[in-house]
């Protein structure tokens, strides 16, 4: 059963077009990763009806938005990339406001989380640091008691100690198996830690949507000093450094002298698959490599090496 079913959700900004199809599983944490400008925030805002879509379909726990607005907007909460409220207010005023807007707003949880994150109640939110604002946005979202939580880079700018707290809070939220989380982030360590599914977005299109354990298991990261023809042929992504090359491949059988093979982390998967350019940090050159062209495609020298 899906918490969110998104089918051919299309947005057109002229230079940027999105057409996303993805199902966010209920009871799971889905990590959404992609480069800047891939459309992650646009997707989240469109799901939250803060951005109009041209066409497509979204079902929230199997229900369409029209006719179920009250239920859906009560039970879906979001941490956007910027605060979605008047930051000139103090938390104590925002608390009263949110209580009047969301009847099931949890005052006790609010007090607990404000103490946990050590946030002041009588200082205007626009005086908070960036990290403090992110934490406060998360507090408001959690206290709404949602079933579906959409997080657009919630740990961005948050110090490592509180980032750990945020991740634990998400895990605590997921102790209820009917809850759903969609977590967009560039901090892939967090996804390594808690995500069940990984969704990769590139140029407005979902290019991967699989269970985290299996996609990492399906790939191998090979470190080598020199690039052989076999490696070039089997490569999905290549990174060059002054120490040699790291090659991401789906071929789990590749081995040899001088090759170090391991299962990639989410970050390594992200770095090797999402760039149109493969960085050559030693020479300052860029070698062309396209995720779409090389993902399973045959090519003699897809990276022009």
């Amino acid at each position: 059963m899906y918490g969110l079913e998104i089918q051919n959700l299309a947005v057109d900004f002229g230079k940027f077009k999105m057409n996303a199809t993805v199902n966010i599983r209920r009871g799971c944490i889905t990590g959404l990763i992609g480069r800047n400008g891939a459309g992650k925030s646009t997707l989240i805002k469109t799901i939250m009806r803060q951005q109009d879509a041209l066409s497509g379909k979204i079902l929230y726990d199997g229900k369409p938005f029209k006719g179920n607005e009250v239920e859906i907007l009560n039970k879906i909460a979001c941490v956007f990339d910027i605060p979605h409220f008047n930051t000139q207010l103090k938390p104590k005023s925002l608390f009263k406001l949110c209580k009047s807007i969301y009847p099931q707003f949890d005052a006790e949880l609010y007090e607990r989380l404000m103490k946990k994150f050590n946030l002041p109640s009588d200082v205007r939110v626009n005086k908070f640091s960036f990290g403090m604002q992110r934490k406060y946005c998360l507090i408001l979202a959690l206290c709404q008691k949602p079933d579906i939580l959409l997080l657009d880079e919630p740990t961005s700018g948050v110090d490592p100690y509180d980032r750990n707290n945020v991740v634990e809070l998400i895990q605590e939220f997921m102790m209820d198996e009917s809850h759903t989380v969609l977590f967009s982030t560039h901090i892939t360590e967090d996804l390594d830690r808690i995500a069940d599914y990984i969704v990769i977005m590139q140029d407005g299109v979902i290019t991967l949507d699989e269970e985290k354990e299996s996609i990492c298991e399906n790939y191998r990261l090979i470190q080598c000093a020199e690039l052989t023809d076999e490696l070039k042929k089997e490569a999905v992504g290549i990174q060059k450094s002054m120490f040699g090359y790291t090659v991401l491949t789906k071929n789990k059988q590749i081995s040899g002298e001088g090759l170090q093979v391991k299962v990639p982390t989410v970050e390594e998967l992200f770095v090797h698959t999402l760039g149109n350019e493969v960085s050559d940090s030693a020479n300052g050159r860029y070698m062309n490599g396209s995720f779409g062209a090389n993902f399973g495609a045959d090519s003699d020298d897809p990276f022009n090496l």
């Binding site: 066409s55 907007l73 039970k75 956007f80 979605h84 008047n86 406001l97 009047s100 009847p103």
Partner: protein, 250 residues
């Protein structure tokens, strides 16, 4: 999902007030709101001048505030994440609450603005009394009318109105948002408080002044300019509001 209740009318109004403050200070709001205020004030003067109806002195600020409240409430609805946009409420109910809130805001704001105008007028009157030395006149007029002293001529009023209009433009382009927010409502206040103060300085009655002013080219120019600018913004805002309230089927 469980059947959850939507916010009450008070919750809606509360949200509108904070979202209002959130969006105030935007340059276009300064221009549009002040044009709406000046337009409604001049329209009132025109009505008085044309039909001699001065029986409803509160109509002028009421008209002004209503137009301004409408424009603020419509234009503050933007297609970006906000508590207002995320409020769990059916579209039809939101529209009904919108109009109820508009009336509520109009009444409350009318009282506040009228009070501010009165205080402002009294301060100006005191300054004038000090300048002209006519303390007794001020006291008598204030006692008799409750508020305002005498005016020199409506030429002075027009001069003040032009200064206020110019200040609208200046305020709109002030970069410091807090300062812009604070000064935003001053221009129309200046015009109409000054109008009230100066109507009687020469013994010219307010009604007579309105008749002359309402028939003057100045009035027509001001009505046209502010009506066009304010009207376009309000119509655009209404269209945007209607489109916004339409529940997209996706």
């Amino acid at each position: 999902m469980k059947n959850i209740k939507s916010p009450t009318l008070w919750g809606y109004i509360r949200c509108c007030f904070t979202e209002n403050a959130y969006n105030q200070g935007n340059r276009s709001y300064v221009l549009q709101d002040n044009c709406a205020a000046i337009f409604s004030g001049m329209f009132y003067i025109f009505l008085v001048g044309s039909f001699g109806q001065e029986a409803m002195p509160l109509l002028m600020p009421f008209l002004w505030i209503m137009v301004m409240a409408l424009s603020i409430m419509i234009l503050q609805i933007q297609r970006k994440p906000s508590l207002y946009n995320l409020m769990p409420m059916r579209t039809g109910k939101k529209m009904v609450y919108f109009f109820i809130s508009l009336l509520f805001m109009t009444v409350v704001a009318s009282v506040i603005i009228a009070a501010v105008m009165i205080v402002f007028a009294i301060i100006l009157a005191i300054i004038l009394a000090i300048a002209t030395g006519q303390w007794i006149l001020v006291a008598e007029e204030t006692a008799a009318s409750g508020i305002f002293p005498c005016a020199e001529s409506y030429g002075l009023v027009i001069f003040i109105a032009l200064i206020a209009l110019g200040s609208v433009l200046i305020i709109a382009f002030i970069k410091r948002r807090l300062l812009r927010d604070t000064l935003m409502f001053l221009p129309p206040l200046v015009i109409f408080a000054a109008l009230e103060i100066f109507t009687d300085l020469t013994g010219v009655s307010r009604r007579l002044l309105y008749v002359e002013l309402g028939a003057s080219p100045f009035c027509w120019i001001l009505l046209t300019v502010t009506g066009v600018v304010g009207g376009i913004c309000i119509i655009a805002g209404i269209v945007r509001f209607v489109l916004y309230l339409r529940t997209k089927d996706y």
